[in-house]
Amino acid sequence: MNIIVCVKQVLDPEIPPAKFKIDPETKQVVPPPGVPPVISVYDERALEAACRLKDKNKGKITAISIGSEKAADVIKHAIAMGADDGFVLSDPAFEDQDSFGTAYVLSKAVQKIGAHDLILCGRQAADWGAGQVGSILAEMLGIPVVTLACDIEATEASVKVKRIVSDGFEVVEAPMPSLVTVSSEIGLPRLPAGMRLMMARKKVVPVWKADDIGAEASYLGKTNAHAEVTGLTVPMRKTECEIISGSPGDAALALASKLANLI
């Protein structure tokens, strides 16, 4: 089976909040110096899901990512995990797009890649987290979408997806091709190792521009976004932390009595 996985490179969410800075004028986040961007956590789980399907059913995994040319790093990560091929979609025309622009570019890339049984996306991005690219992409391609998967099984012509709902799980069946968005409950991504890591490092990741995928300018960029960001703020958190001093034992006792009304 052929699987396409959409992945995004994001600011590392595991940084201390002190390093998180925004520019209120441009309404953009200022990347902290010296902190390399990472693959968005849910997208990494989508790749893991793809790898598990490939382990069982054979097939081919193609990873695609919209971003700067640096996004080649997440494609290499995908290849190290088990993807067979990958492309970066990079063009100044793609900058500051909203979910529609992003889904449109992905749809054109998917069409260029050709035959596929399954498209996997993370449930949302770890940065702006709009949570809609997968669904919009499926609508653009006219294929079914199943959201919030925590387990995916492929059969002959369909996929069986266990998805997260508030009081448990739902199991749904969808025909192929379908798009599935993956949640973190699918489990830990594999650690790339050995030969795959070496191979990925050497891989030259092709970059596709708007013309390469036949993307029309009228769908791209900030000017064609459906919504604009009119404000970006970091909430003020004025928490005075009362540090309880003393020996560990004494401090623990003092703390316990301060919390008496909360337990």
Binding site: A130, G131, E139, V146
Partner: protein
């Protein structure tokens, strides 16, 4: 764009009643509709919606559109998307509100794709700009470390999802008048490609993390699975749940279902005790709703002290036993 009018709530039915989230949306929706000077409508879907139309009117709706079909008994993505999309193409709502629920999270992005609107999810504030009459929707981004306000000048409908208990519920007033209108379009069953084949209720032993009033969370500083397990004793004494950072889950010290944070659970207990965790951006995104955060960490510079109300700078191994013993004594006495 000017032919798009009014506020439409995508209603939810739970146990034969209007779901609490729908009554909350009626509160915020009424305000938005009044600020627009337009009508507030609710779309209700289900096998039967008997009596619920009048309920929604009592809670502030001017119109209630009801789509009844056996295929709408339970939420099905394909069926609901079809019904709501074809309704919207005729009704042309300017603003659409959804709960940030199982249904809203699945349905709203798909509808947005189909209708070409603009959607802001998990909104914490919604208002109508008095000058432009555009919806301003504020939502958390970067795991709640920043808030972005989104405005759509031309794409319609302007859609938003709102998490449960974010806004106060509408007040009931049985003297309110309104119309209950059946949706005429019939559902086309051939367009239902995705089928629900099973529903499984999750078995939870002890207190569910999301519902717990006390959460004891551990991170990298715990060092290994044996040490991590010590948090359980304190959690049990306080009738609480154990939570973990992503690192602790990745290391295998705790199951992924206990992860608190951006890619895990969002908790809002009365008391959150953070043990041996530094408070990375992604983690605190999951616990900022706690009424009281307590930090126990060796590193006095750790970020967790910036969000904590009480802190002990020290080795958790020396603090936790005394704390556990004292709480045990307090609970017993």
């Amino acid at each position: 764009m000017d032919n798009y009018k009014g506020v439409l709530i995508c209603g939810e039915i739970a146990g034969g009643q209007l779901a609490p989230i729908t009554i909350e949306l009626l509160g915020v929706g009424r305000k938005l509709a009044d600020d627009l000077g337009e009508e507030l409508s609710v779309l209700l879907m289900g096998g039967s919606t008997a009596g619920l139309g009048q309920e929604a009117i009592a809670y502030g709706a001017d119109n209630v559109f009801v789509a009844e079909d056996g295929l709408l008994n339970d939420y099905n993505s394909d069926a609901y998307t079809q019904v709501v999309a074809s309704f919207c193409k005729k009704a042309l709502p300017s603003v659409m509100l959804f709960g940030h629920t199982d249904m809203g999270c699945d349905l709203s992005p798909r509808l947005n794709g189909r209708l070409g609107g603009a959607l802001a999810m998990e909104c914490s504030a919604l208002s109508i700009d008095p000058a432009t009459k555009f919806l301003a929707a504020t939502r958390p981004v970067f795991g709640g470390n920043a808030y972005a306000t989104m405005v759509s000048k031309s794409a319609r409908p302007q859609m938003a999802t709102v998490r449960a208990k974010t806004v106060p519920p509408a007040e009931r007033n049985d003297s309110r008048q309104g119309k209950v209108i059946p949706v005429e379009d019939k559902l086309d069953p051939s367009a239902i490609k995705v089928k629900v084949v099973d529903r499984i209720k999750e078995e939870v032993t002890g207190v569910k993390l999301e519902d717990a009033e006390v959460v004891i969370a551990g991170g990298r500083g715990l060092g290994n699975a044996q040490e991590f397990a010590k948090l359980r004793e304190l959690a049990d004494i306080l009738g609480g749940a154990v939570g973990a950072t992503r690192v602790a889950c990745d290391e295998g010290w705790a199951p992924a279902t206990l992860q608190v944070g951006q890619s895990g659970k969002v908790v809002s207990p009365k008391l959150y005790i953070a043990v041996g965790l530094s408070g990375a951006m992604a983690h605190i995104a999951g616990c900022l709703g706690a009424k009281c955060i307590v930090a126990i960490n060796k590193d006095s510079e750790a970020n967790i002290f910036n969000v904590a109300h009480f802190g002990i700078v020290g080795d958790w191994k020396e603090v936790l036993p005394s704390l556990t013993a004292k709480f045990k004594e307090m609970k017993a006495g």
